[in-house]
């Protein structure tokens, strides 16, 4: 299943709704390209993962690579609403200690301390 991305603003935070799978190949390339574009203008990012069914090693690599780019630029990338399956993958790869995850988009946005629109 391909990945579709829906970009919205919540105040100064950019929320990217993801739908599909984030896997090695066209999907993770699409995510990287789109978010790198966004990182040129915003460093506060939230990935809404509610409709992501599956993340593989390549997808994790893309997310972590983007997270390090965002942090290097003084910002961050946080995950909202990851499914139990995605959380399991983050847990066994020890990434839950690296990537912040939240139960709602609003909670993830609020951590940036910007006023949400």
């Amino acid at each position: 299943m391909a990945l579709t991305l829906d970009v919205k603003k919540a105040g100064a935070v950019t929320v990217v709704g993801c739908r599909g799978v984030i896997v090695y190949g066209a999907e993770s390339e699409e995510l990287r390209a789109r978010l790198k574009e966004l990182l040129a203008s915003t460093h506060s990012l939230v990935l809404d993962m509610a409709e992501v069914g599956y993340v593989d090693s390549g997808g994790l690599g893309a997310i972590v690579g983007l997270l390090t780019s965002a942090r290097a630029a003084g910002g961050d990338l946080k995950l909202a609403r990851p499914s139990e399956r995605v959380q399991h993958v983050l847990r066994i790869t020890k990434l839950l200690s690296v990537v912040e995850t939240y139960d709602t988009v609003e909670a993830a946005v609020a951590t940036y301390g910007h006023a949400a629109a």
Binding site: S28, S57, G58, V89, T93, K94, L95, V98
Partner: protein
């Protein structure tokens, strides 16, 4: 596939379930495809013999002529269309038959329209496919030769995971993800994504376990040379390998072995490490 790219592509939906035929027709038309339907295998075959279609969405169990018979007869056409099989029949016999008859993909019923549209787009966008060769088609011992190609990974996963439909969801997901990661390693690192090279996959099923063996055509690797993989680092160093991959210009990733080790019960490499076996106990 974009609407513009889909324009002019002809799709035939063959299913005896009227509601599903209509839903697929509407969804695919919205994407820009020219879509026709047939009520059973015989009607579908007649349409295919008289008109050119780029792709067929084919049900298996239908009155008058089943989808497996249609699939076999399609080889008699001068230019057979790509075939996506859609069925609730997850038996190994059916799925292995569809692989042998060179179906492009398998979608297990019930499925979302979104996933069906996605598979159709991929099937029509893909270039000429290297064939998947069936070495053993016994349900308890399946063995396949798969070209070292990214797309072949998706295709073979759809068929092999379809056969695991009787397993609990959690077990199926673990096996599926472990297989995905190890097969990607095999085609990318072992086979250098060269579709002329093959990965040998065997899947054995007993009452108490599922065993996969994946043998790639490469020269193997050593764990002490895996600075670009997360598995080489102690806990708390989750990002160290990302820096190494960045320096080496490798694509993002490197979590595959770490993931796999946690998902299966046994993970064993041969001495050269170009062959791996994993076991999931049931």
């Amino acid at each position: 596939m974009t609407v513009a790219a889909a324009k002019g592509k002809r799709v035939l939906v063959v299913d005896d379930e009227e509601a599903l035929r209509d839903l697929l027709q509407i969804a695919l038309k919205e994407e820009g495809y020219a879509v026709e339907t047939a009520r059973d295998g015989l009607e579908g075959l007649e349409r295919l013999q008289n008109e050119k279609f780029d792709l067929v969405l084919l049900d298996v169990w239908m009155p008058r002529m089943n989808g497996l018979e249609v699939l076999t007869k399609l080889h008699e056409l001068p230019i057979p269309p790509r075939v996506v099989v859609m069925t609730a029949d997850h038996t190994p016999e059916t799925l292995l038959h569809t692989i042998q008859q060179e179906a492009y993909h398998y979608i297990g019923k019930p499925f979302s329209l979104h996933s069906a549209v996605d598979v159709v787009g991929r099937a029509l966008a893909s270039e000429e496919l290297a064939a998947i060769e069936v070495i053993s088609a016994k349900p308890e011992w399946v063995e396949l030769l798969v070209p070292c190609d990214r797309e072949a990974v998706d295709r073979i996963e759809s068929f092999l995971m379809g056969m695991k439909g009787d397993l609990p969801e959690e077990v199926r997901e673990s096996i599926g993800q472990a297989f995905h990661e190890l097969l990607l390693n095999a085609v990318e690192w072992g086979g250098k994504l060269d579709p002329n090279r093959k990965v040998d996959i065997a899947c054995l099923r007993t009452k108490r376990m599922v065993l996969y063996r994946i043998a790639d055509p490469g020269t193997g690797f050593r764990f002490d040379e895996l600075a670009h993989a997360a598995i080489a680092y102690p806990e708390g160093s989750a990002l160290d390998h990302i820096r190494v991959r960045d320096e080496k210009g490798l694509r993002p990733g490197g979590f595959g072995l770490l993931l796999t080790r946690s998902l299966v019960d046994e993970l064993i490499y041969n001495q050269k490490q170009n062959e791996v076996v994993f076991v999931k106990y049931l």
